[in-house]
């Protein structure tokens, strides 16, 4: 595609880094499998076939779903991939997360990391995807993120199930003295139908594990699937309706101590003056220890129970050092203003000649607008926590985390042990949304464990610490202009977006010796990679360092670029007196998947029907994480404020492996976006976060929750992600509905600063 020639040279440095990390070390390394981590920890009589399957002699089948279960249902769908090919049902198996291991690398997460839109399937884009995916393998990055888990596991885990079935069947054929092709799988047994004889998986598991895995595997055709493509009962339901202790915060060990942290509320600042005497004298306090890490400076409290730890942490008298970054909202605004004035930034999309298009544009045909979004907290329901025990040179770590291999590496360094002496137990996560793709909470627990004489310490943050020390969704600013043609359609679109780099912030606190390479595409993802055809189309990313820690927040850059891009398109439609859905239809004419999404949305939302007075609809579209999603929102003026009545979501995910889980994720993603759009913001004063708990950083409540109507499509030829895709278009769809209802074009989130919601 011609666009490739105009991608900045710096963009290719990302590929160079990936290749240096991956392909350059050689074909062998990329092809060679990692050792099976299950072999290190088998029970007596237990056999393992590959990193995903183990079977005991008494026929208990365990499937490893090595991605964090944070509500997205991934443990169920990943287990179904294995079970489908193994030939068993989900109630025949138990599902575990498994150990931290390079064998559970995620290559799909990195594959889309290059500066290419999804629909660019040219040679360079595809080569980059291959190289980046290989880097994911070579780096051994076991990570849950980027809505990538099912895409990553789709081939690999079905193959694991098929290989195990083949080996079990071969062993059964030996045991029964018959040919393997006369055998069928029934429950967890292998049946010779002709003779009526059968053996259980468990009876032949040990022998089967000695058989070489097949070199050729033929996977089932989708038409033969019994589990995939159909709603499955989730494997985690029973635990979650009985209050079972499955979360990190529920870890309960013999001799366990309890702890918490009190970290500098100014990021990176150190204590200047400290008086621990009152805190140390409080009942139940065992020790108070300094914490100095790349994640922050402060104190850890070890106590006999969590409440005592909280009380003592609050009693620490400390004066913190000053902020060495823009310390309040005014200073942050000034930094953004300067950034936007500094130039076009890194150009991630540059179709046609934008400067020429605006040079001779008549003023009445030009629209300009500035947009703004605030920092946001993740506010997972389960506050950050981890439990660590350092005893006999071995670090045991129980951590609700999204990055087990990185957690193992950084915590090994802190504990002064080799990574082979670290066991990471990844628990269920009480919400993740990207927040738990961090190592800070695990590192703090590790540090406290060094002062606990070999006893385990569960370190729980207060909600106040959690809000004050998030890695926030970055604030961003956008400056946009469009030139409209004779027919009102945009002929030129120029977008300049300023935001801190998430990658730079992540590297600073995880691997500070590594410098980020190339532009951070997350600054403009959701704007530069959308499937609209506009002759002169430029999107620039202006990296704006602000010193405040930022991180991955459900849908990352798409979370605000969706708002920017789709509200500005709505402004164009209004100026041109075009229907916003019909206008998008025209602009996306080259992409049949997009058109089908829009057409279905128009149909189920009855888009073209007039809306009664006091009510209005808005819509938006975002292509993110490989999926094409359009949403419409209907709102009503109640007299006391605006109520969100109904939301329609149409998502083309390419292939829908579990429609019920996907539906839940679409609702979930939209609620997450609507929560932020309505009333969430993190602000700063004196270098510190001003919000502290759910009273001033709330989210949608059940009485605010609209009705949902969902349509899941499978038209696009590649499978897309699910967990994040409904968040980006929800925000602009609501803002566009607010405009339609009130005539107020709100360009700065949250909307509650301009209109009231009930």
């Amino acid at each position: 595609m011609s666009r490739l020639g105009t991608i900045t040279r710096r963009g290719f440095l990302i590929a160079a880094a990936a290749i240096a990390g991956g392909v350059a070390v050689g074909y062998y390394y990329v092809r060679a499998p990692y050792p099976n981590p299950l072999e290190d920890d088998l029970d007596s009589g237990e056999a393992t076939f590959n990193p995903y399957v183990k079977i005991t002699a008494d026929n208990a089948v365990t499937v490893i779903a090595p991605r964090a279960e944070m509500g997205q249902g991934v443990s169920t769908t990943l287990a179904a991939l294995v079970a489908e090919e193994l030939g068993v049902g989900l109630d025949d198996i138990s599902v575990e997360h498994g150990p931290a291991s390079y064998a559970y690398y995620n290559s799909a997460m990195l594959a889309e990391g290059g500066p290419f839109p999804l629909f660019d399937e040219g040679m360079i884009a595809q080569t980059m995807r291959g190289a980046m995916g290989a880097a994911g393998k070579v780096l051994g990055l076991q990570a849950t993120g980027g809505s990538s888990s099912v895409r990553d596991g789709f081939e690999r885990m079905r193959r694991a199930g098929a290989a195990a079935r083949h080996m079990l069947t071969a062993a059964a054929a030996n045991a029964l003295g018959v040919s393997a092709n006369e055998l069928t799988i029934r429950g967890k047994s292998i049946l010779h139908e002709v003779s009526g004889r059968s053996v259980t998986f468990g009876a032949v598991a040990a022998a089967a594990a000695e058989i070489d895995p097949p070199s050729q595997i033929t996977l089932k055709e989708p038409g033969e699937w019994r589990l995939l493509g159909k709603p499955q009962p989730r494997v985690d339901m029973a635990a979650k309706v009985t209050g079972a202790p499955i979360f990190g915060i529920d870890v309960h060990l013999p001799e366990m101590l309890y702890g918490t942290v009190r970290m500098s509320p100014r990021f990176g600042a150190r204590p200047i003056e400290t008086d621990l005497s009152r805190a140390e004298a409080m009942p139940g306090v065992v020790a108070i220890v300094p914490i100095d890490t790349t994640y922050g400076h402060g104190f850890g409290v070890i106590a006999e129970n969590t409440w005592a730890a909280f009380q003592a942490a609050a009693a620490i008298e400390v004066e913190w050092g000053p902020a060495d970054y823009p310390a309040d909202d005014a200073a942050i605004e000034a930094a953004f203003k300067q950034a936007l004035a500094s130039g076009a930034g890194d150009i991630l999309r540059d179709d046609g000649d934008v400067d020429a298009a605006f040079a001779d544009a008549p003023a009445e045909r030009v629209i300009e607008a500035d947009y703004a979004v605030p920092f946001l907290a993740h506010a997972c329901m389960e506050p950050m926590n981890a439990t660590a025990r350092l005893s006999g040179g071995v670090l045991e770590l129980w951590s609700p985390n999204q990055v087990p291999t990185l957690t193992r590496q950084l915590c090994a360094d802190l504990a002064g042990v080799e990574i082979e002496s670290v066991n990471v137990h990844t628990t269920h996560l009480g919400g993740g949304f990207g927040r738990r793709g961090e190592m800070g909470f695990s590192m703090y627990a590790t540090l406290l464990a060094r002062h606990a004489d070999g006893r385990p310490v569960k370190v729980t943050w207060t909600r106040e610490e959690d809000v004050a020390h998030d890695v926030y969704r970055p604030a961003a600013r956008g400056r946009f202009r469009a030139r409209l043609g004779e027919d009102g359609l945009p002929v030129a679109l120029d977008m300049r977006i300023a935001s801190p780099s998430i990658m730079a912030s992540v590297l600073k606190r995880t691997f500070p010796s590594i410098s980020p390479v190339g532009p951070d595409k997350s600054i403009v993802e959701g704007s530069f990679d959308q499937p609209y055809s506009i002759a002169d189309y430029r999107v620039g990313a202006v990296e704006t360092p602000l010193g405040i820690p930022v991180g991955f927040w459900r849908s990352v850059g798409n979370s605000y670029n969706g708002f920017f891009h789709e509200c500005f398109l709505d402004e164009i439609a209004t100026a041109a007196k075009l229907d916003p859905l019909a206008m998008r239809r025209t602009l996306m004419g080259e992409h049949p998947a997009a058109l089908k999404v829009l057409d279905r949305l128009a149909e189920i939302s009855n888009w073209s029907a007039p809306v009664p007075a006091g009510r209005a609809k808005g819509m938006a579209f975002t292509l993110s994480f490989g999926s094409w999603v359009a949403e419409a929102v209907e709102i009503a003026e109640t007299g006391q404020g605006i109520r969100i009545d109904k939301v329609w979501i149409v998502a083309d995910v390419g292939r829908a492996l579990d429609p019920a889980i996907i539906e839940a994720q679409l609702v979930s993603g939209a609620v997450f976006g609507l929560s932020s759009a309505m009333n969430q913001e993190i602000t700063f004063a004196d270098g510190m976060t001003e919000q502290s708990n759910f009273h001033d950083f709330d989210a949608m409540r059940i009485n605010q929750c609209p009705q949902f109507e969902i349509a899941i499509l499978e038209n696009y030829h590649r499978m897309g992600g699910v967990g994040e895709i409904a968040t980006p278009p929800a925000v602009p769809a609501l803002a566009n509905a607010v405009f339609a209802l009130t005539g107020k074009r709100v360009r700065r989130l949250p909307l509650s600063n301009a209109v009231e919601f009930v």
């Binding site: 339901m237 409440w307 269920h428 919400g431 059940i702 929750c705």
Partner: protein, 154 residues
């Protein structure tokens, strides 16, 4: 001091100012009630005290003089309460962290009002925050549980 939790006497040695939540979790090892906010703003810690839904993070254990019911006390042996079963039937939980509190609030609602209207549900459940956005399925599950309980009682 002695608490009655899920019908059992539980002796604990606690500072009377310690919130009930931490007495249950850290001292009694009852993990169903979850810590979310510490200020009665999210409902994850909801338990029943003499049948009344109570935010256990914000009531000092020394003040508790009624029978405490946590999510662990809802099922009858291996038989789930109708509310829990409805939660499974509607596949409500996602991350699941808030669901102990949601279920306790829903259980208390149905004890008080066996046929709640939509507004009743909204009002009773607005104190229980869910960041995964499971609210539509919570509504459906409460209605399902109400129907089941009404059939069982009829």
């Amino acid at each position: 001091m002695r608490l009655t939790v899920n019908g059992n006497a539980v002796d604990i040695d606690a500072d009377p100012d310690m919130p009930l939540l931490w007495a249950l979790r850290d001292l009694a090892g009852i993990m169903g009630p979850k810590f979310g906010c510490g200020i009665a703003a999210c409902g994850a810690c909801t338990v029943l005290v003499d049948g009344m839904p109570t935010r256990s993070c914000s009531i000092p254990v020394g003040y508790v003089d009624g029978a405490v019911t946590t999510i662990e006390g809802l099922a009858d042996g291996n038989t789930l309460d109708a509310v829990q079963q409805a939660w499974i039937d509607e596949q409500v939980p996602q991350c699941g962290y808030c669901q102990s509190g949601q279920i306790m609030s829903a259980y208390a609602l149905l004890e008080e009002n066996p046929e709640p209207a939509d507004d009743d549900i909204d009002q009773a459940m607005a104190g229980n925050l869910c960041r995964c956005g499971t609210y539509p399925r919570i509504r459906a599950a409460i209605k399902r549980a109400a129907a089941v309980k009404s059939r069982a009682g009829a």
